[in-house]
Structure formats: C-alpha cells, structure tokens
Amino acid sequence: MKPAELGYAAPTSLDDAIGLLASRDAKILAGGQSLVPLLNLRLAAPELLVDLRSVPGLDGIRREGDDLVIGATVRQRRAERDATIREVAPLVAEALRHVGHPQIRSRGTIGGSIAHADPAAELPAVLVALDGSVRARGPGGEREIAAADFFQGFLMTALAEDEILVAITLPAAAPRTGAGCVEIAQRAGDYAACGAVAQVTLEGDRVADARVALIGAIDRPVRARTVEEALIGSAGTPQDIAAAAAHASDGLDPMPDPRVPAEYRLHLARVVARRAVEQATERAG
C-alpha cells in the first residue's frame, strides 16, 4: 500500500499555495491524517500535494469580536490544550477529546478535519452546531462560507477546487455554557455508528440556547433544530431533554451500512442527542 507517483510543494505564501492548487490536479496537505491513508490505498492520486506547513498566518487562535477564529493548520492536540479554546469554545475542546487517538491529533489539523468533511467526524458537527463559518481563500479573494452551506455530502464541501480553507470562525460561548459529546462506537476512536455534539447555555433556570448536531447519522453533519427548539425556554430537566431528543431522528435518511441498520441508527440519534444534551446541561450549571 504505497502512494502513487506524486509531486510535493511546500509554498511559503498563501498566494503561492493558491496558485499551485489552481495549476494542476492538486490537493492540499495539512496534517495528512485523512489524506495519506487514502494515498496509501491509492484511493486518491493527485499529481501534486500542496503542503501548508510553511504558509504563515494559518496557525493562529484568536478572538475577533464575539467570535473565535482558529487557523486551518492548528494541530488538534494543540487546540485540545489551548486555554482560549477551552474558555470560549468548550464544545471544540470537548469534541477534540473524541477525535481519533493522541497520535492522530498530534498531526491532524482543525482545517484538515473540516475540509475532509467525513460525516463521522466531530469537528464538522461542531461547526454546524454553532453556526460557525469557514474562511476560504481562492484566486478571486477571500470569502466566508456558513457552516450550514459548507457540508454538501459525503466528503463533499462548498470549497471550490482552487480554494483553500484558511480558518474557521465560531461564536464565543456565553457564560453558563456547557458542552457535551457522545459517540456510540465499538472501540474508542473508531468510527461512530452515531454521535452527537451539544452545547447548552442557561440563563436563570431556563435554557437560553441549545445547539445540537449529529455525527454519522447521514452523509453530512446535521443540525437537530427540532431538538433545539424544544429545549430552548424549557427548564432543561431530564424529562424536557428526553422529550426534546425524541425529535433528533426527524426527517433523517441514514447512509446504508452493513453493521448499522437504518432504524437502529435513527434510534441511536435520539439516544446520543439526549445524552449529549444531558452532559452539556449538567456542565452549564
């Protein structure tokens, strides 16, 4: 299982990287934890790999007003431990603990996970849950793509072929916000049969905000808006949460899988939504 012949470039500017991406059959290489296995299996065989390692300005973690901006090449292990992320993006910190294993997170990047758009991945679900956005740069300049528009299908995103994901943006969490992530997988770090990320903000004794997105339920991360609407304004009791989570599977059409029948996946969606929201609610208090 060795990669096919390929070229490699490590440009030192974003413009150079964009130029290379546009010039031929090229793929961006960040951490490589998703891409290199595909290269080894020869399921991907680009002519050129454009490594972002030497492009400056892509590895920042900083606040921009009410938002947190995380650069594309920030390593997952660094993000996991970052004090700013823990403080203002608890859902990111929580979800990162579930991403693969430490050996993957030492190399994998925030941008890479988002751009790869595996429906069974945690970070895309977080971005969708928080109504974050993707900052992309291409030959025509920079644009912001809302998370709701970004994930378009199995491993498919709104990124144009000559665009590079340079950062993600998410709203900083309000006070009294808790985050939860629950995955049903047979082995920790394994592909989840289904999972959920949830963030709950309390005000007084009411749920002021609730964000829930499902991992691995369909071909892309999906927001469970009906669950959220049922939670907001409620007291967030176990009964409220259970009643709300019962809606998690509404309207979902799961991808076929020999080990995970559709009915079961839908059932899991309701279970993980409930458990993730319970976690988030407990931590918000």
């Binding site: 299982m1 060795k2 990669p3 096919a4 012949e5 390929l6 070229g7 490699y8 490590a10 290489l29 490589g32 934890q33 290199v36 296995p37 290269l39 080894n40 299996l41 790999l49 490594d51 390692r53 292990r77 693969g100 294993h101 430490p102 050996q103 993957i104 030492s106 190399r107 082995r187 920790a188 770090g189």
Partner: protein, 162 residues
C-alpha cells in the same frame, strides 16, 4: 519522479537525503536508515505499530510523508536505549511483566507509554486507555501491558530510572 532533499534528525543523528516525494516517513526510517523497529502493520494509521516520536509527540510514521517533516526531530525505539545502555524503565517493565509476546506492536506501545508517563506520572486507567487506545495488540490481551505501564510509572516516580 518528484524528489526532495530533506534534513531530519533521527535518534540524535542528523541525516540529509534526497527522496521521492511519496516516500513515507516509515519507509524512510526502515529502508534508508535501516531503523526497522518502526513496524508496518496496516499502512492506514490504525494499528499504531509505526508510532514514532516526532518533535517530541507520538505520531504515525506510516501516514506521514517524510517530505512533510523536513527539519524535524524523530525518535524511534532504537533511540531509547542504545546497545549496551541500561533499558529504559518502560522497556524494563515490559520485560518484567511479560508485556510483550511477538513484539511487533511493542515499539509503538513503548513510545506512547514514555509520552504518557512524561505527562501523567501517576496515570489513571482512563489516561492509560486514552494514550494506548490507538495501539492494537493481538497477542497479550492488554492486561500485562497495563501492568507494565503501572510498574514503569512507579519506578519512574521512585526515581530509580532516568
């Protein structure tokens, strides 16, 4: 064929080589440097047999292209105790507690254990599972691996190792 000149430090020794762009770090270590303790069990980043320390952190050499790590410092199992040197307490513990059978997965386990104990000198079972969850062993059933980790932790805390 696209080739690149890279410079890496491996087990304290600097190397410069011109290699194909598609050469993995694992194959660079194994074929170019004859450091064969980095094993290939799957070549898709799951089994952990290829684990090395890359700039101080465990990483999978089979899904890293060597071109990506130009300038890096790499430590393999061969760098832990050179010939004639005393075994590292983690290595010693794997011996004492029968934490290995065929030895194929062992290099990865040892490096991840060293990293774990550096960060958590008195690890909980959860922390051990987290650090070693990315390593597959088909021989031992993991029980004696955990015993080895516990023994190594104790010895390191007692200061009877490095």
């Amino acid at each position: 064929m696209s080739s690149h000149t890279i410079r890496v430090t491996v087990n304290g020794t600097e190397h410069e080589a011109t290699v194909p762009a598609r050469l993995t770090l694992a194959d660079f270590l194994r074929e170019h440097l004859d450091l064969t303790a980095t094993h290939l069990g799957c070549e898709h980043g799951v089994c952990g047999a290829c684990t090395v320390l890359l700039d101080g952190e465990t990483a999978r050499a089979c899904i890293t292209l060597v071109a990506q790590v130009d300038g890096a410092e790499i430590v393999t199992l061969e760098g832990i105790a050179a010939d004639g040197e005393e075994l590292h307490p983690v290595q010693q513990a794997f011996w004492d507690r029968h934490g290995m059978q065929c030895g194929f997965c062992t290099p990865g386990f040892i490096l991840s254990t060293i990293e774990l104990l550096r960060e958590h000198p008195d690890p909980t079972r959860e922390q051990i599972d987290e650090a070693l969850g990315g390593h597959l062993c088909r021989c031992t059933g993991y029980v004696k691996i955990v015993e080895a980790v516990d023994q190594a932790a104790e010895r390191l805390r007692a200061g009877s190792g490095r």
